[in-house]
Symmetry: C2
Subunit: 411 residues, 2 copies
Amino acid sequence: MAALSVSPLAPASQPVLPKIRGVRLAGMAIGLKKNGGRDLMLAELAPGTTIAGALTRSLCPSAPIEWCRHALKGGKARAIIVNSGNSNAFTGNAGDITVAETVKSAMALIGCKAEEVFIASTGVIGQPLPPDAIAKALPRIAKNLKFSGWKDAAEAIRTTDTFAKSVTRTVTIGDTRVTINGIAKGSGMIAPDLATMLAFLFTDAAIPADVLQKIVSRAVKRSFNSITVDSDTSTSDTVLFAATGMAQNKTIEHLNDKQLKPFRRAVESAMVELAQLIVRDGEGASKFITIKVRGAASGGAARRVGLAIANSPLVKTAIAGEDANWGRIVMAVGKAGERADRDRLGISIGGVPITLNGQIVENYDETPVAKHMTGSDIDIEVDLDIGKGKATVWTCDLTHGYIDINGSYRS
Amino acid sequence: MAALSVSPLAPASQPVLPKIRGVRLAGMAIGLKKNGGRDLMLAELAPGTTIAGALTRSLCPSAPIEWCRHALKGGKARAIIVNSGNSNAFTGNAGDITVAETVKSAMALIGCKAEEVFIASTGVIGQPLPPDAIAKALPRIAKNLKFSGWKDAAEAIRTTDTFAKSVTRTVTIGDTRVTINGIAKGSGMIAPDLATMLAFLFTDAAIPADVLQKIVSRAVKRSFNSITVDSDTSTSDTVLFAATGMAQNKTIEHLNDKQLKPFRRAVESAMVELAQLIVRDGEGASKFITIKVRGAASGGAARRVGLAIANSPLVKTAIAGEDANWGRIVMAVGKAGERADRDRLGISIGGVPITLNGQIVENYDETPVAKHMTGSDIDIEVDLDIGKGKATVWTCDLTHGYIDINGSYRS
């Protein structure tokens, strides 16, 4: 299949990421991608780096996912190794051996424990990944490690994303200025099987692993777990956040430490931006859709209602057709399985109220809504009016492009 | 929008339904459908008829659904009134008044209690249905009631289904021959909002309402709740089964009465056939897909795994593209949320084993599978190999036709 042109929803430019003390990165080509592009990323982390993460809920996860689930218990990291071009998923015992060989090679190279090495793989599934494919490449890629290697790293984790994805934030903890950088891939047509989502974030802040894990778990819920392209969950989805501690900020012991607030907000905002970039590279996407739900029984209920709307093929195709078909939003609210009251439901599109108290508003004029639907950013607001729960989710429309990409990939 | 041509998956012919003692039907046009077609169905049922049903789980249901939920508690029926062209959903208090007026008119006409009148509506949502639109038409349609009115009835409940759907079975209870007839609509592009599914079944058997309800609940699970076109749930989905008792078979007191077995099997088989007809009229469908799951932890788990595969846009687009992309089936099994073991999973397509024990089979030859994918009936088998639960679900592929139908309906 020919390379896709860059998504029409891609941001005009991407930030140049600043250096982070304690993080060196490299990207290179080792022949896993058929097109000869960069397909291996190595991030080397300073001694003492803590790590936290979130992994796919798939019950048929890849070999690297199973390894990361084990290694995350230690909360320490010295290396993150990511390859594209082969997901090492559904490869049985051979997949586990490849992971073990990769870990062994990294231990020798860096001089660290096995559980300080993290691995993620994305690409074709069910194809064996030779046990030494990555292991033997590590000494070579290590020679290219640079504090400024962010762009190479972001390129190496791409499969067929139409643009590389990166974000940066600076913020203070107490008096100390710290940086957060993040790179991600996903939701562009991932060759050839799965829309795997990977995100790696790094900071020079000093944060204990247990606090870092709580920060990640909460931020992931409001970012990567609040986006959807097609409701399909990959065998390999991975978010990792490494904190080198080299900023030497005041030690933080508790999640609720007031001095941690700006940092927590910055992490969430960085993850939301990465998540939105993934949606903006959604397969065949022509519209970026924001769905705000309020008045739900709880925050979780609001998110599930939002995702029911975001995952509805009927809603997504209507938006692709620039049709303000609010009846389909009613349908999606009804099927979400969360408490709702037909006679209280309010729906707005593009800021224009369409229904109120379970009925279409009197003298509803579709003109401004129809105009909003022709834009590339679509805003939907739903008020269940039964509680205080709220959530925002993001998705894209369902177009002929999605069918083309996914229906004829191997033809 | 121009009328669609008949689905390529439609059966070559439809049965002519025999008469059922105690059931007279009629269909006529009362101006709810813009094209002037038949849009009102009346079924008059003999005194003593028992009824059971299954209604949408949507939490924003239509006014008729709320009425049927109440009326079903009585277990008795004298009339079923169905209109197409307006779903009377999301119409607030006005919708309830229309239902009340319709019920009142039917009570006067037939001489029955309110709770013996059942109503279903399908079509546009959020548009008021005038309170007397159906009420005042009932005396007129009643003049056309006929024991042979099946075809008129099946036509009147269609919206934009590309073909009318009907099935029939004859079977014995003890020594008595009884007939089961069923009609259904759905999943063809339902104008203009929802893919509502309606099915009405009738028999001359004498079955107490509580036993009938148990028969319906079980059969619905294996039929209408085992199909999916696009994972969206309508505000109006309705299944009703009326038993007139005029065959005067031996009284059945218990679900597990051995003499009821052939009848139960026939009901399930009739519902499965109607459900399959709905899938065969799926929006834009070009392939009819049967997914058999075995070896699951339970029957429910097997059905949920089957539906996860059937609802996956990645699986459905691959099949539309005639691509034997089994990796997407692994992904869907993983995301189903049911217990699975990566290293035990077996997948076959068209009877050809592709994976065994969590790995691709040695020397896998895709040729026969690729050939199977070019046919119109696609068979997928998944063996989780961890338990005895099994289930079969049916779906169709996701094509450009679906996007056309749902993305540009109002343009």
